[in-house]
Assembly symmetry: C2
């Protein structure tokens, strides 16, 4: 199959920042792209060959979009599954496959999948809805983590339940109650696999949390953990990937418990925030490897050239409107600092507006610079 | 000045592969771009915000295009100089400045500039036209290099004159006759400078020539020459840059003579083929640093993370039409190999269609892989 400067068509569901970064590589290989996104201000609107505005959850919209392309992928899981299944049945290559997505889209099914495949994960119980959970509350040990099984995204759809009052105002939908496992570290491993079965893992990364606010501040590659533990995490991620039999990228998020057990938290079958460092630090970025994988090309080297740390750029609280990246000129003057601005014109509190990668031969120096970056740049709004 | 996701407008004259690679960084910073190119199939047509088709040598076209933007740059020297001068006089920031371009656009003026600034360069004589050169042929030592002073590009406009017959069919235009200096190596140094005067040089690169065909096969970073010579080349490049007082990138091509003298061959005031390796190998690519420079942002680190070698992908002789990159899947399987496909749909003999970068911690291993790449991939046409 000739992909390069040819009539081949790649379809991408979702036109956000993940799609935008994927387009850098479709452009580099001159692979023709079709993108579907609900917003006509989507970051992917330029740099793709053909942009379509439409609802990713609407069967007709997704089906008609998919019929135009040779290979279809997505940068967000919240897409119409039935349309993907019909397209696959009609011979369109859909990667990751709807079969894989089906096991992941619903967090209840995903958790049950881990259990039935002996993949270590935190104990949980599934409930048809919130009322049933409440009726069985006496069996649940507080605190626990409430998660709605569907349509949760970026933290919404997840809540820590410390008292019964915390259950108030939650939607009465299917949900799980997950035991809160005390952990030392959140780790992630990105696994890449092509249809021919070639498979590679990126190094284990570490999410460093803010001591007070329970929020990831830094993604650090490689994780500052011992070798055997890292190998264990990589092996578990490989096992998860094989069980899902996925194609493309699979980001496997894990907990390192107090007693150095590894528990799988959840997975994402697409390029992932925990892999953004790879654009600057790795021989092959996660985006290029996702593209290589879904086109069944040989996978690129997942090793790092240098240490990489990523800091998210999220909208500062108390600001909304036309975005301003305060002090970005300052951080640009520092060694190995690269901002990625996603292209959203309007900021609001906590909105993901971009990220900054810091690379350095010395991971401790990178970490020091990353902290300066975090303390210097601010995503605010004009006036 | 707020460049990021703002109303700021950057204009780029020329929409070829250099512009295309620059757009990766304007997209990364979400800087709004306007591009002018004569071809409506220009590689820059997508990924810029606004594309205009028009003649880069036409005063009105360039002037009207430039009036729309805040900062204007170019990816090719063959642009209408008078329009740039008028735009600069009217307050548009033009980088590099027309004053610099004026000294470079005409190879005769460029050579005279080196002489008057004591910059080492090969001896030459300038002639108003070919007839006058012929009339003074007895004063010229054969062989020599004939160069037309204007509008030469990618080798055309340059010819080695070994016998008088070689002068036949040359255009009767202003030209220079340059002494043929026997050299060991062709070297290049890219200098980056912003309006505030911050200045950085990339490491010295080496152009390795094919033993028979007199054609650059590999651009190798760092050059495999001794440290003192490299420092000498860097110092000369810095001096050239200061004399031109340029803003943006200046690629300085040099000869290393048999007796290790450094002679300046010519310069290009823009991103350059000899800097393509920097996308994968350097902390900051030449394109990002060009963008930082013309926006008067701090310059990024020009050091390399790893060794880098570039191989040009040019159309194979005897093929023309819809391009096919033969064996590209094979080279994608090799360590540290990244193809860049410029996006020209039609190939023809010697047309620049793309390049391949090979990065590795070990430069000799990179060189070995680069040779395999060179011997494996072929740019041919279908049918």
């Amino acid at each position: 199959m000739n992909y390069f400067s040819s009539h081949f068509k790649l379809g991408i569901l979702g036109g956000g920042q993940l799609g935008k970064m994927l387009l850098f590589d479709t452009r580099k290989f001159d692979v023709q792209t079709y993108v579907l996104d609900p917003s006509d201000e989507a970051p992917c609107k330029i740099a793709c060959n053909h942009f379509f505005q439409g609802d990713l959850m609407d069967f007709e919209t997704v089906y008609n979009f998919g019929k135009q392309v040779d290979v279809l992928t997505f940068e967000i899981e919240l897409v119409n599954l039935e349309a993907l299944e019909k397209l696959e049945n009609e011979g369109i290559k859909v990667y990751p496959s709807p079969k894989t997505l089906k096991l992941i889209q619903n967090k209840g099914i995903q958790k049950e999948f881990y259990v039935s495949n002996n993949i270590p994960t935190a104990p949980f119980e599934k409930f048809e809805n919130l009322e049933i959970l409440k009726s069985k509350i006496q069996n649940l040990k507080l605190p626990f983590v409430w998660k709605c099984t569907e349509f949760g995204y970026d933290g919404n759809g997840v809540k820590i339940i410390r008292t019964l009052e915390d259950l108030d105002n939650l939607p009465n939908v299917e949900c799980i109650a997950e035991e809160m496992v005390p952990f030392k570290n959140e780790l992630a491993v990105i696994v890449c696999r092509n249809p021919s079965g070639e498979i590679k893992t990126y190094p284990v990364v570490e999410m460093e949390f803010h001591p007070e606010a329970n929020q990831v501040e830094y993604v650090i590659c490689p994780a500052r953990i011992d070798y055997n533990l890292a190998e264990k995490a990589r092996a578990i991620a490989l096992n998860v990937s094989e069980k899902f039999n996925h194609v493309g990228l699979l980001a496997v998020e894990m907990f390192q418990t107090e007693d150095d057990e590894i528990l799988v938290n959840e997975v994402a079958p697409r390029p992932h925030n925990s892999g953004h460092y790879s654009i600057e630090a790795s021989y092959t970025s996660q985006f290029e490897n996702h593209l290589r994988a879904i086109l069944d090309l040989p996978l690129g080297n997942t090793d790092s050239k240098v240490a990489g740390i990523m800091v998210n750029l999220t909208g500062a609280e108390g600001f909304s409107g036309d975005v301003i990246y305060e002090n970005i000129e300052t951080i640009l003057g520092w060694n190995g600092v690269t901002p990625h601005i996603y292209g959203k014109k309007q900021t609001r509190a906590f909105r993901k507006m971009g990220h900054v990668t810091i690379v350095n031969e010395d991971i401790n120096e990178a970490r020091r610079i990353a902290e300066d970056v975090k303390n210097t740049i601010r995503v605010i709004s004009g006036q």
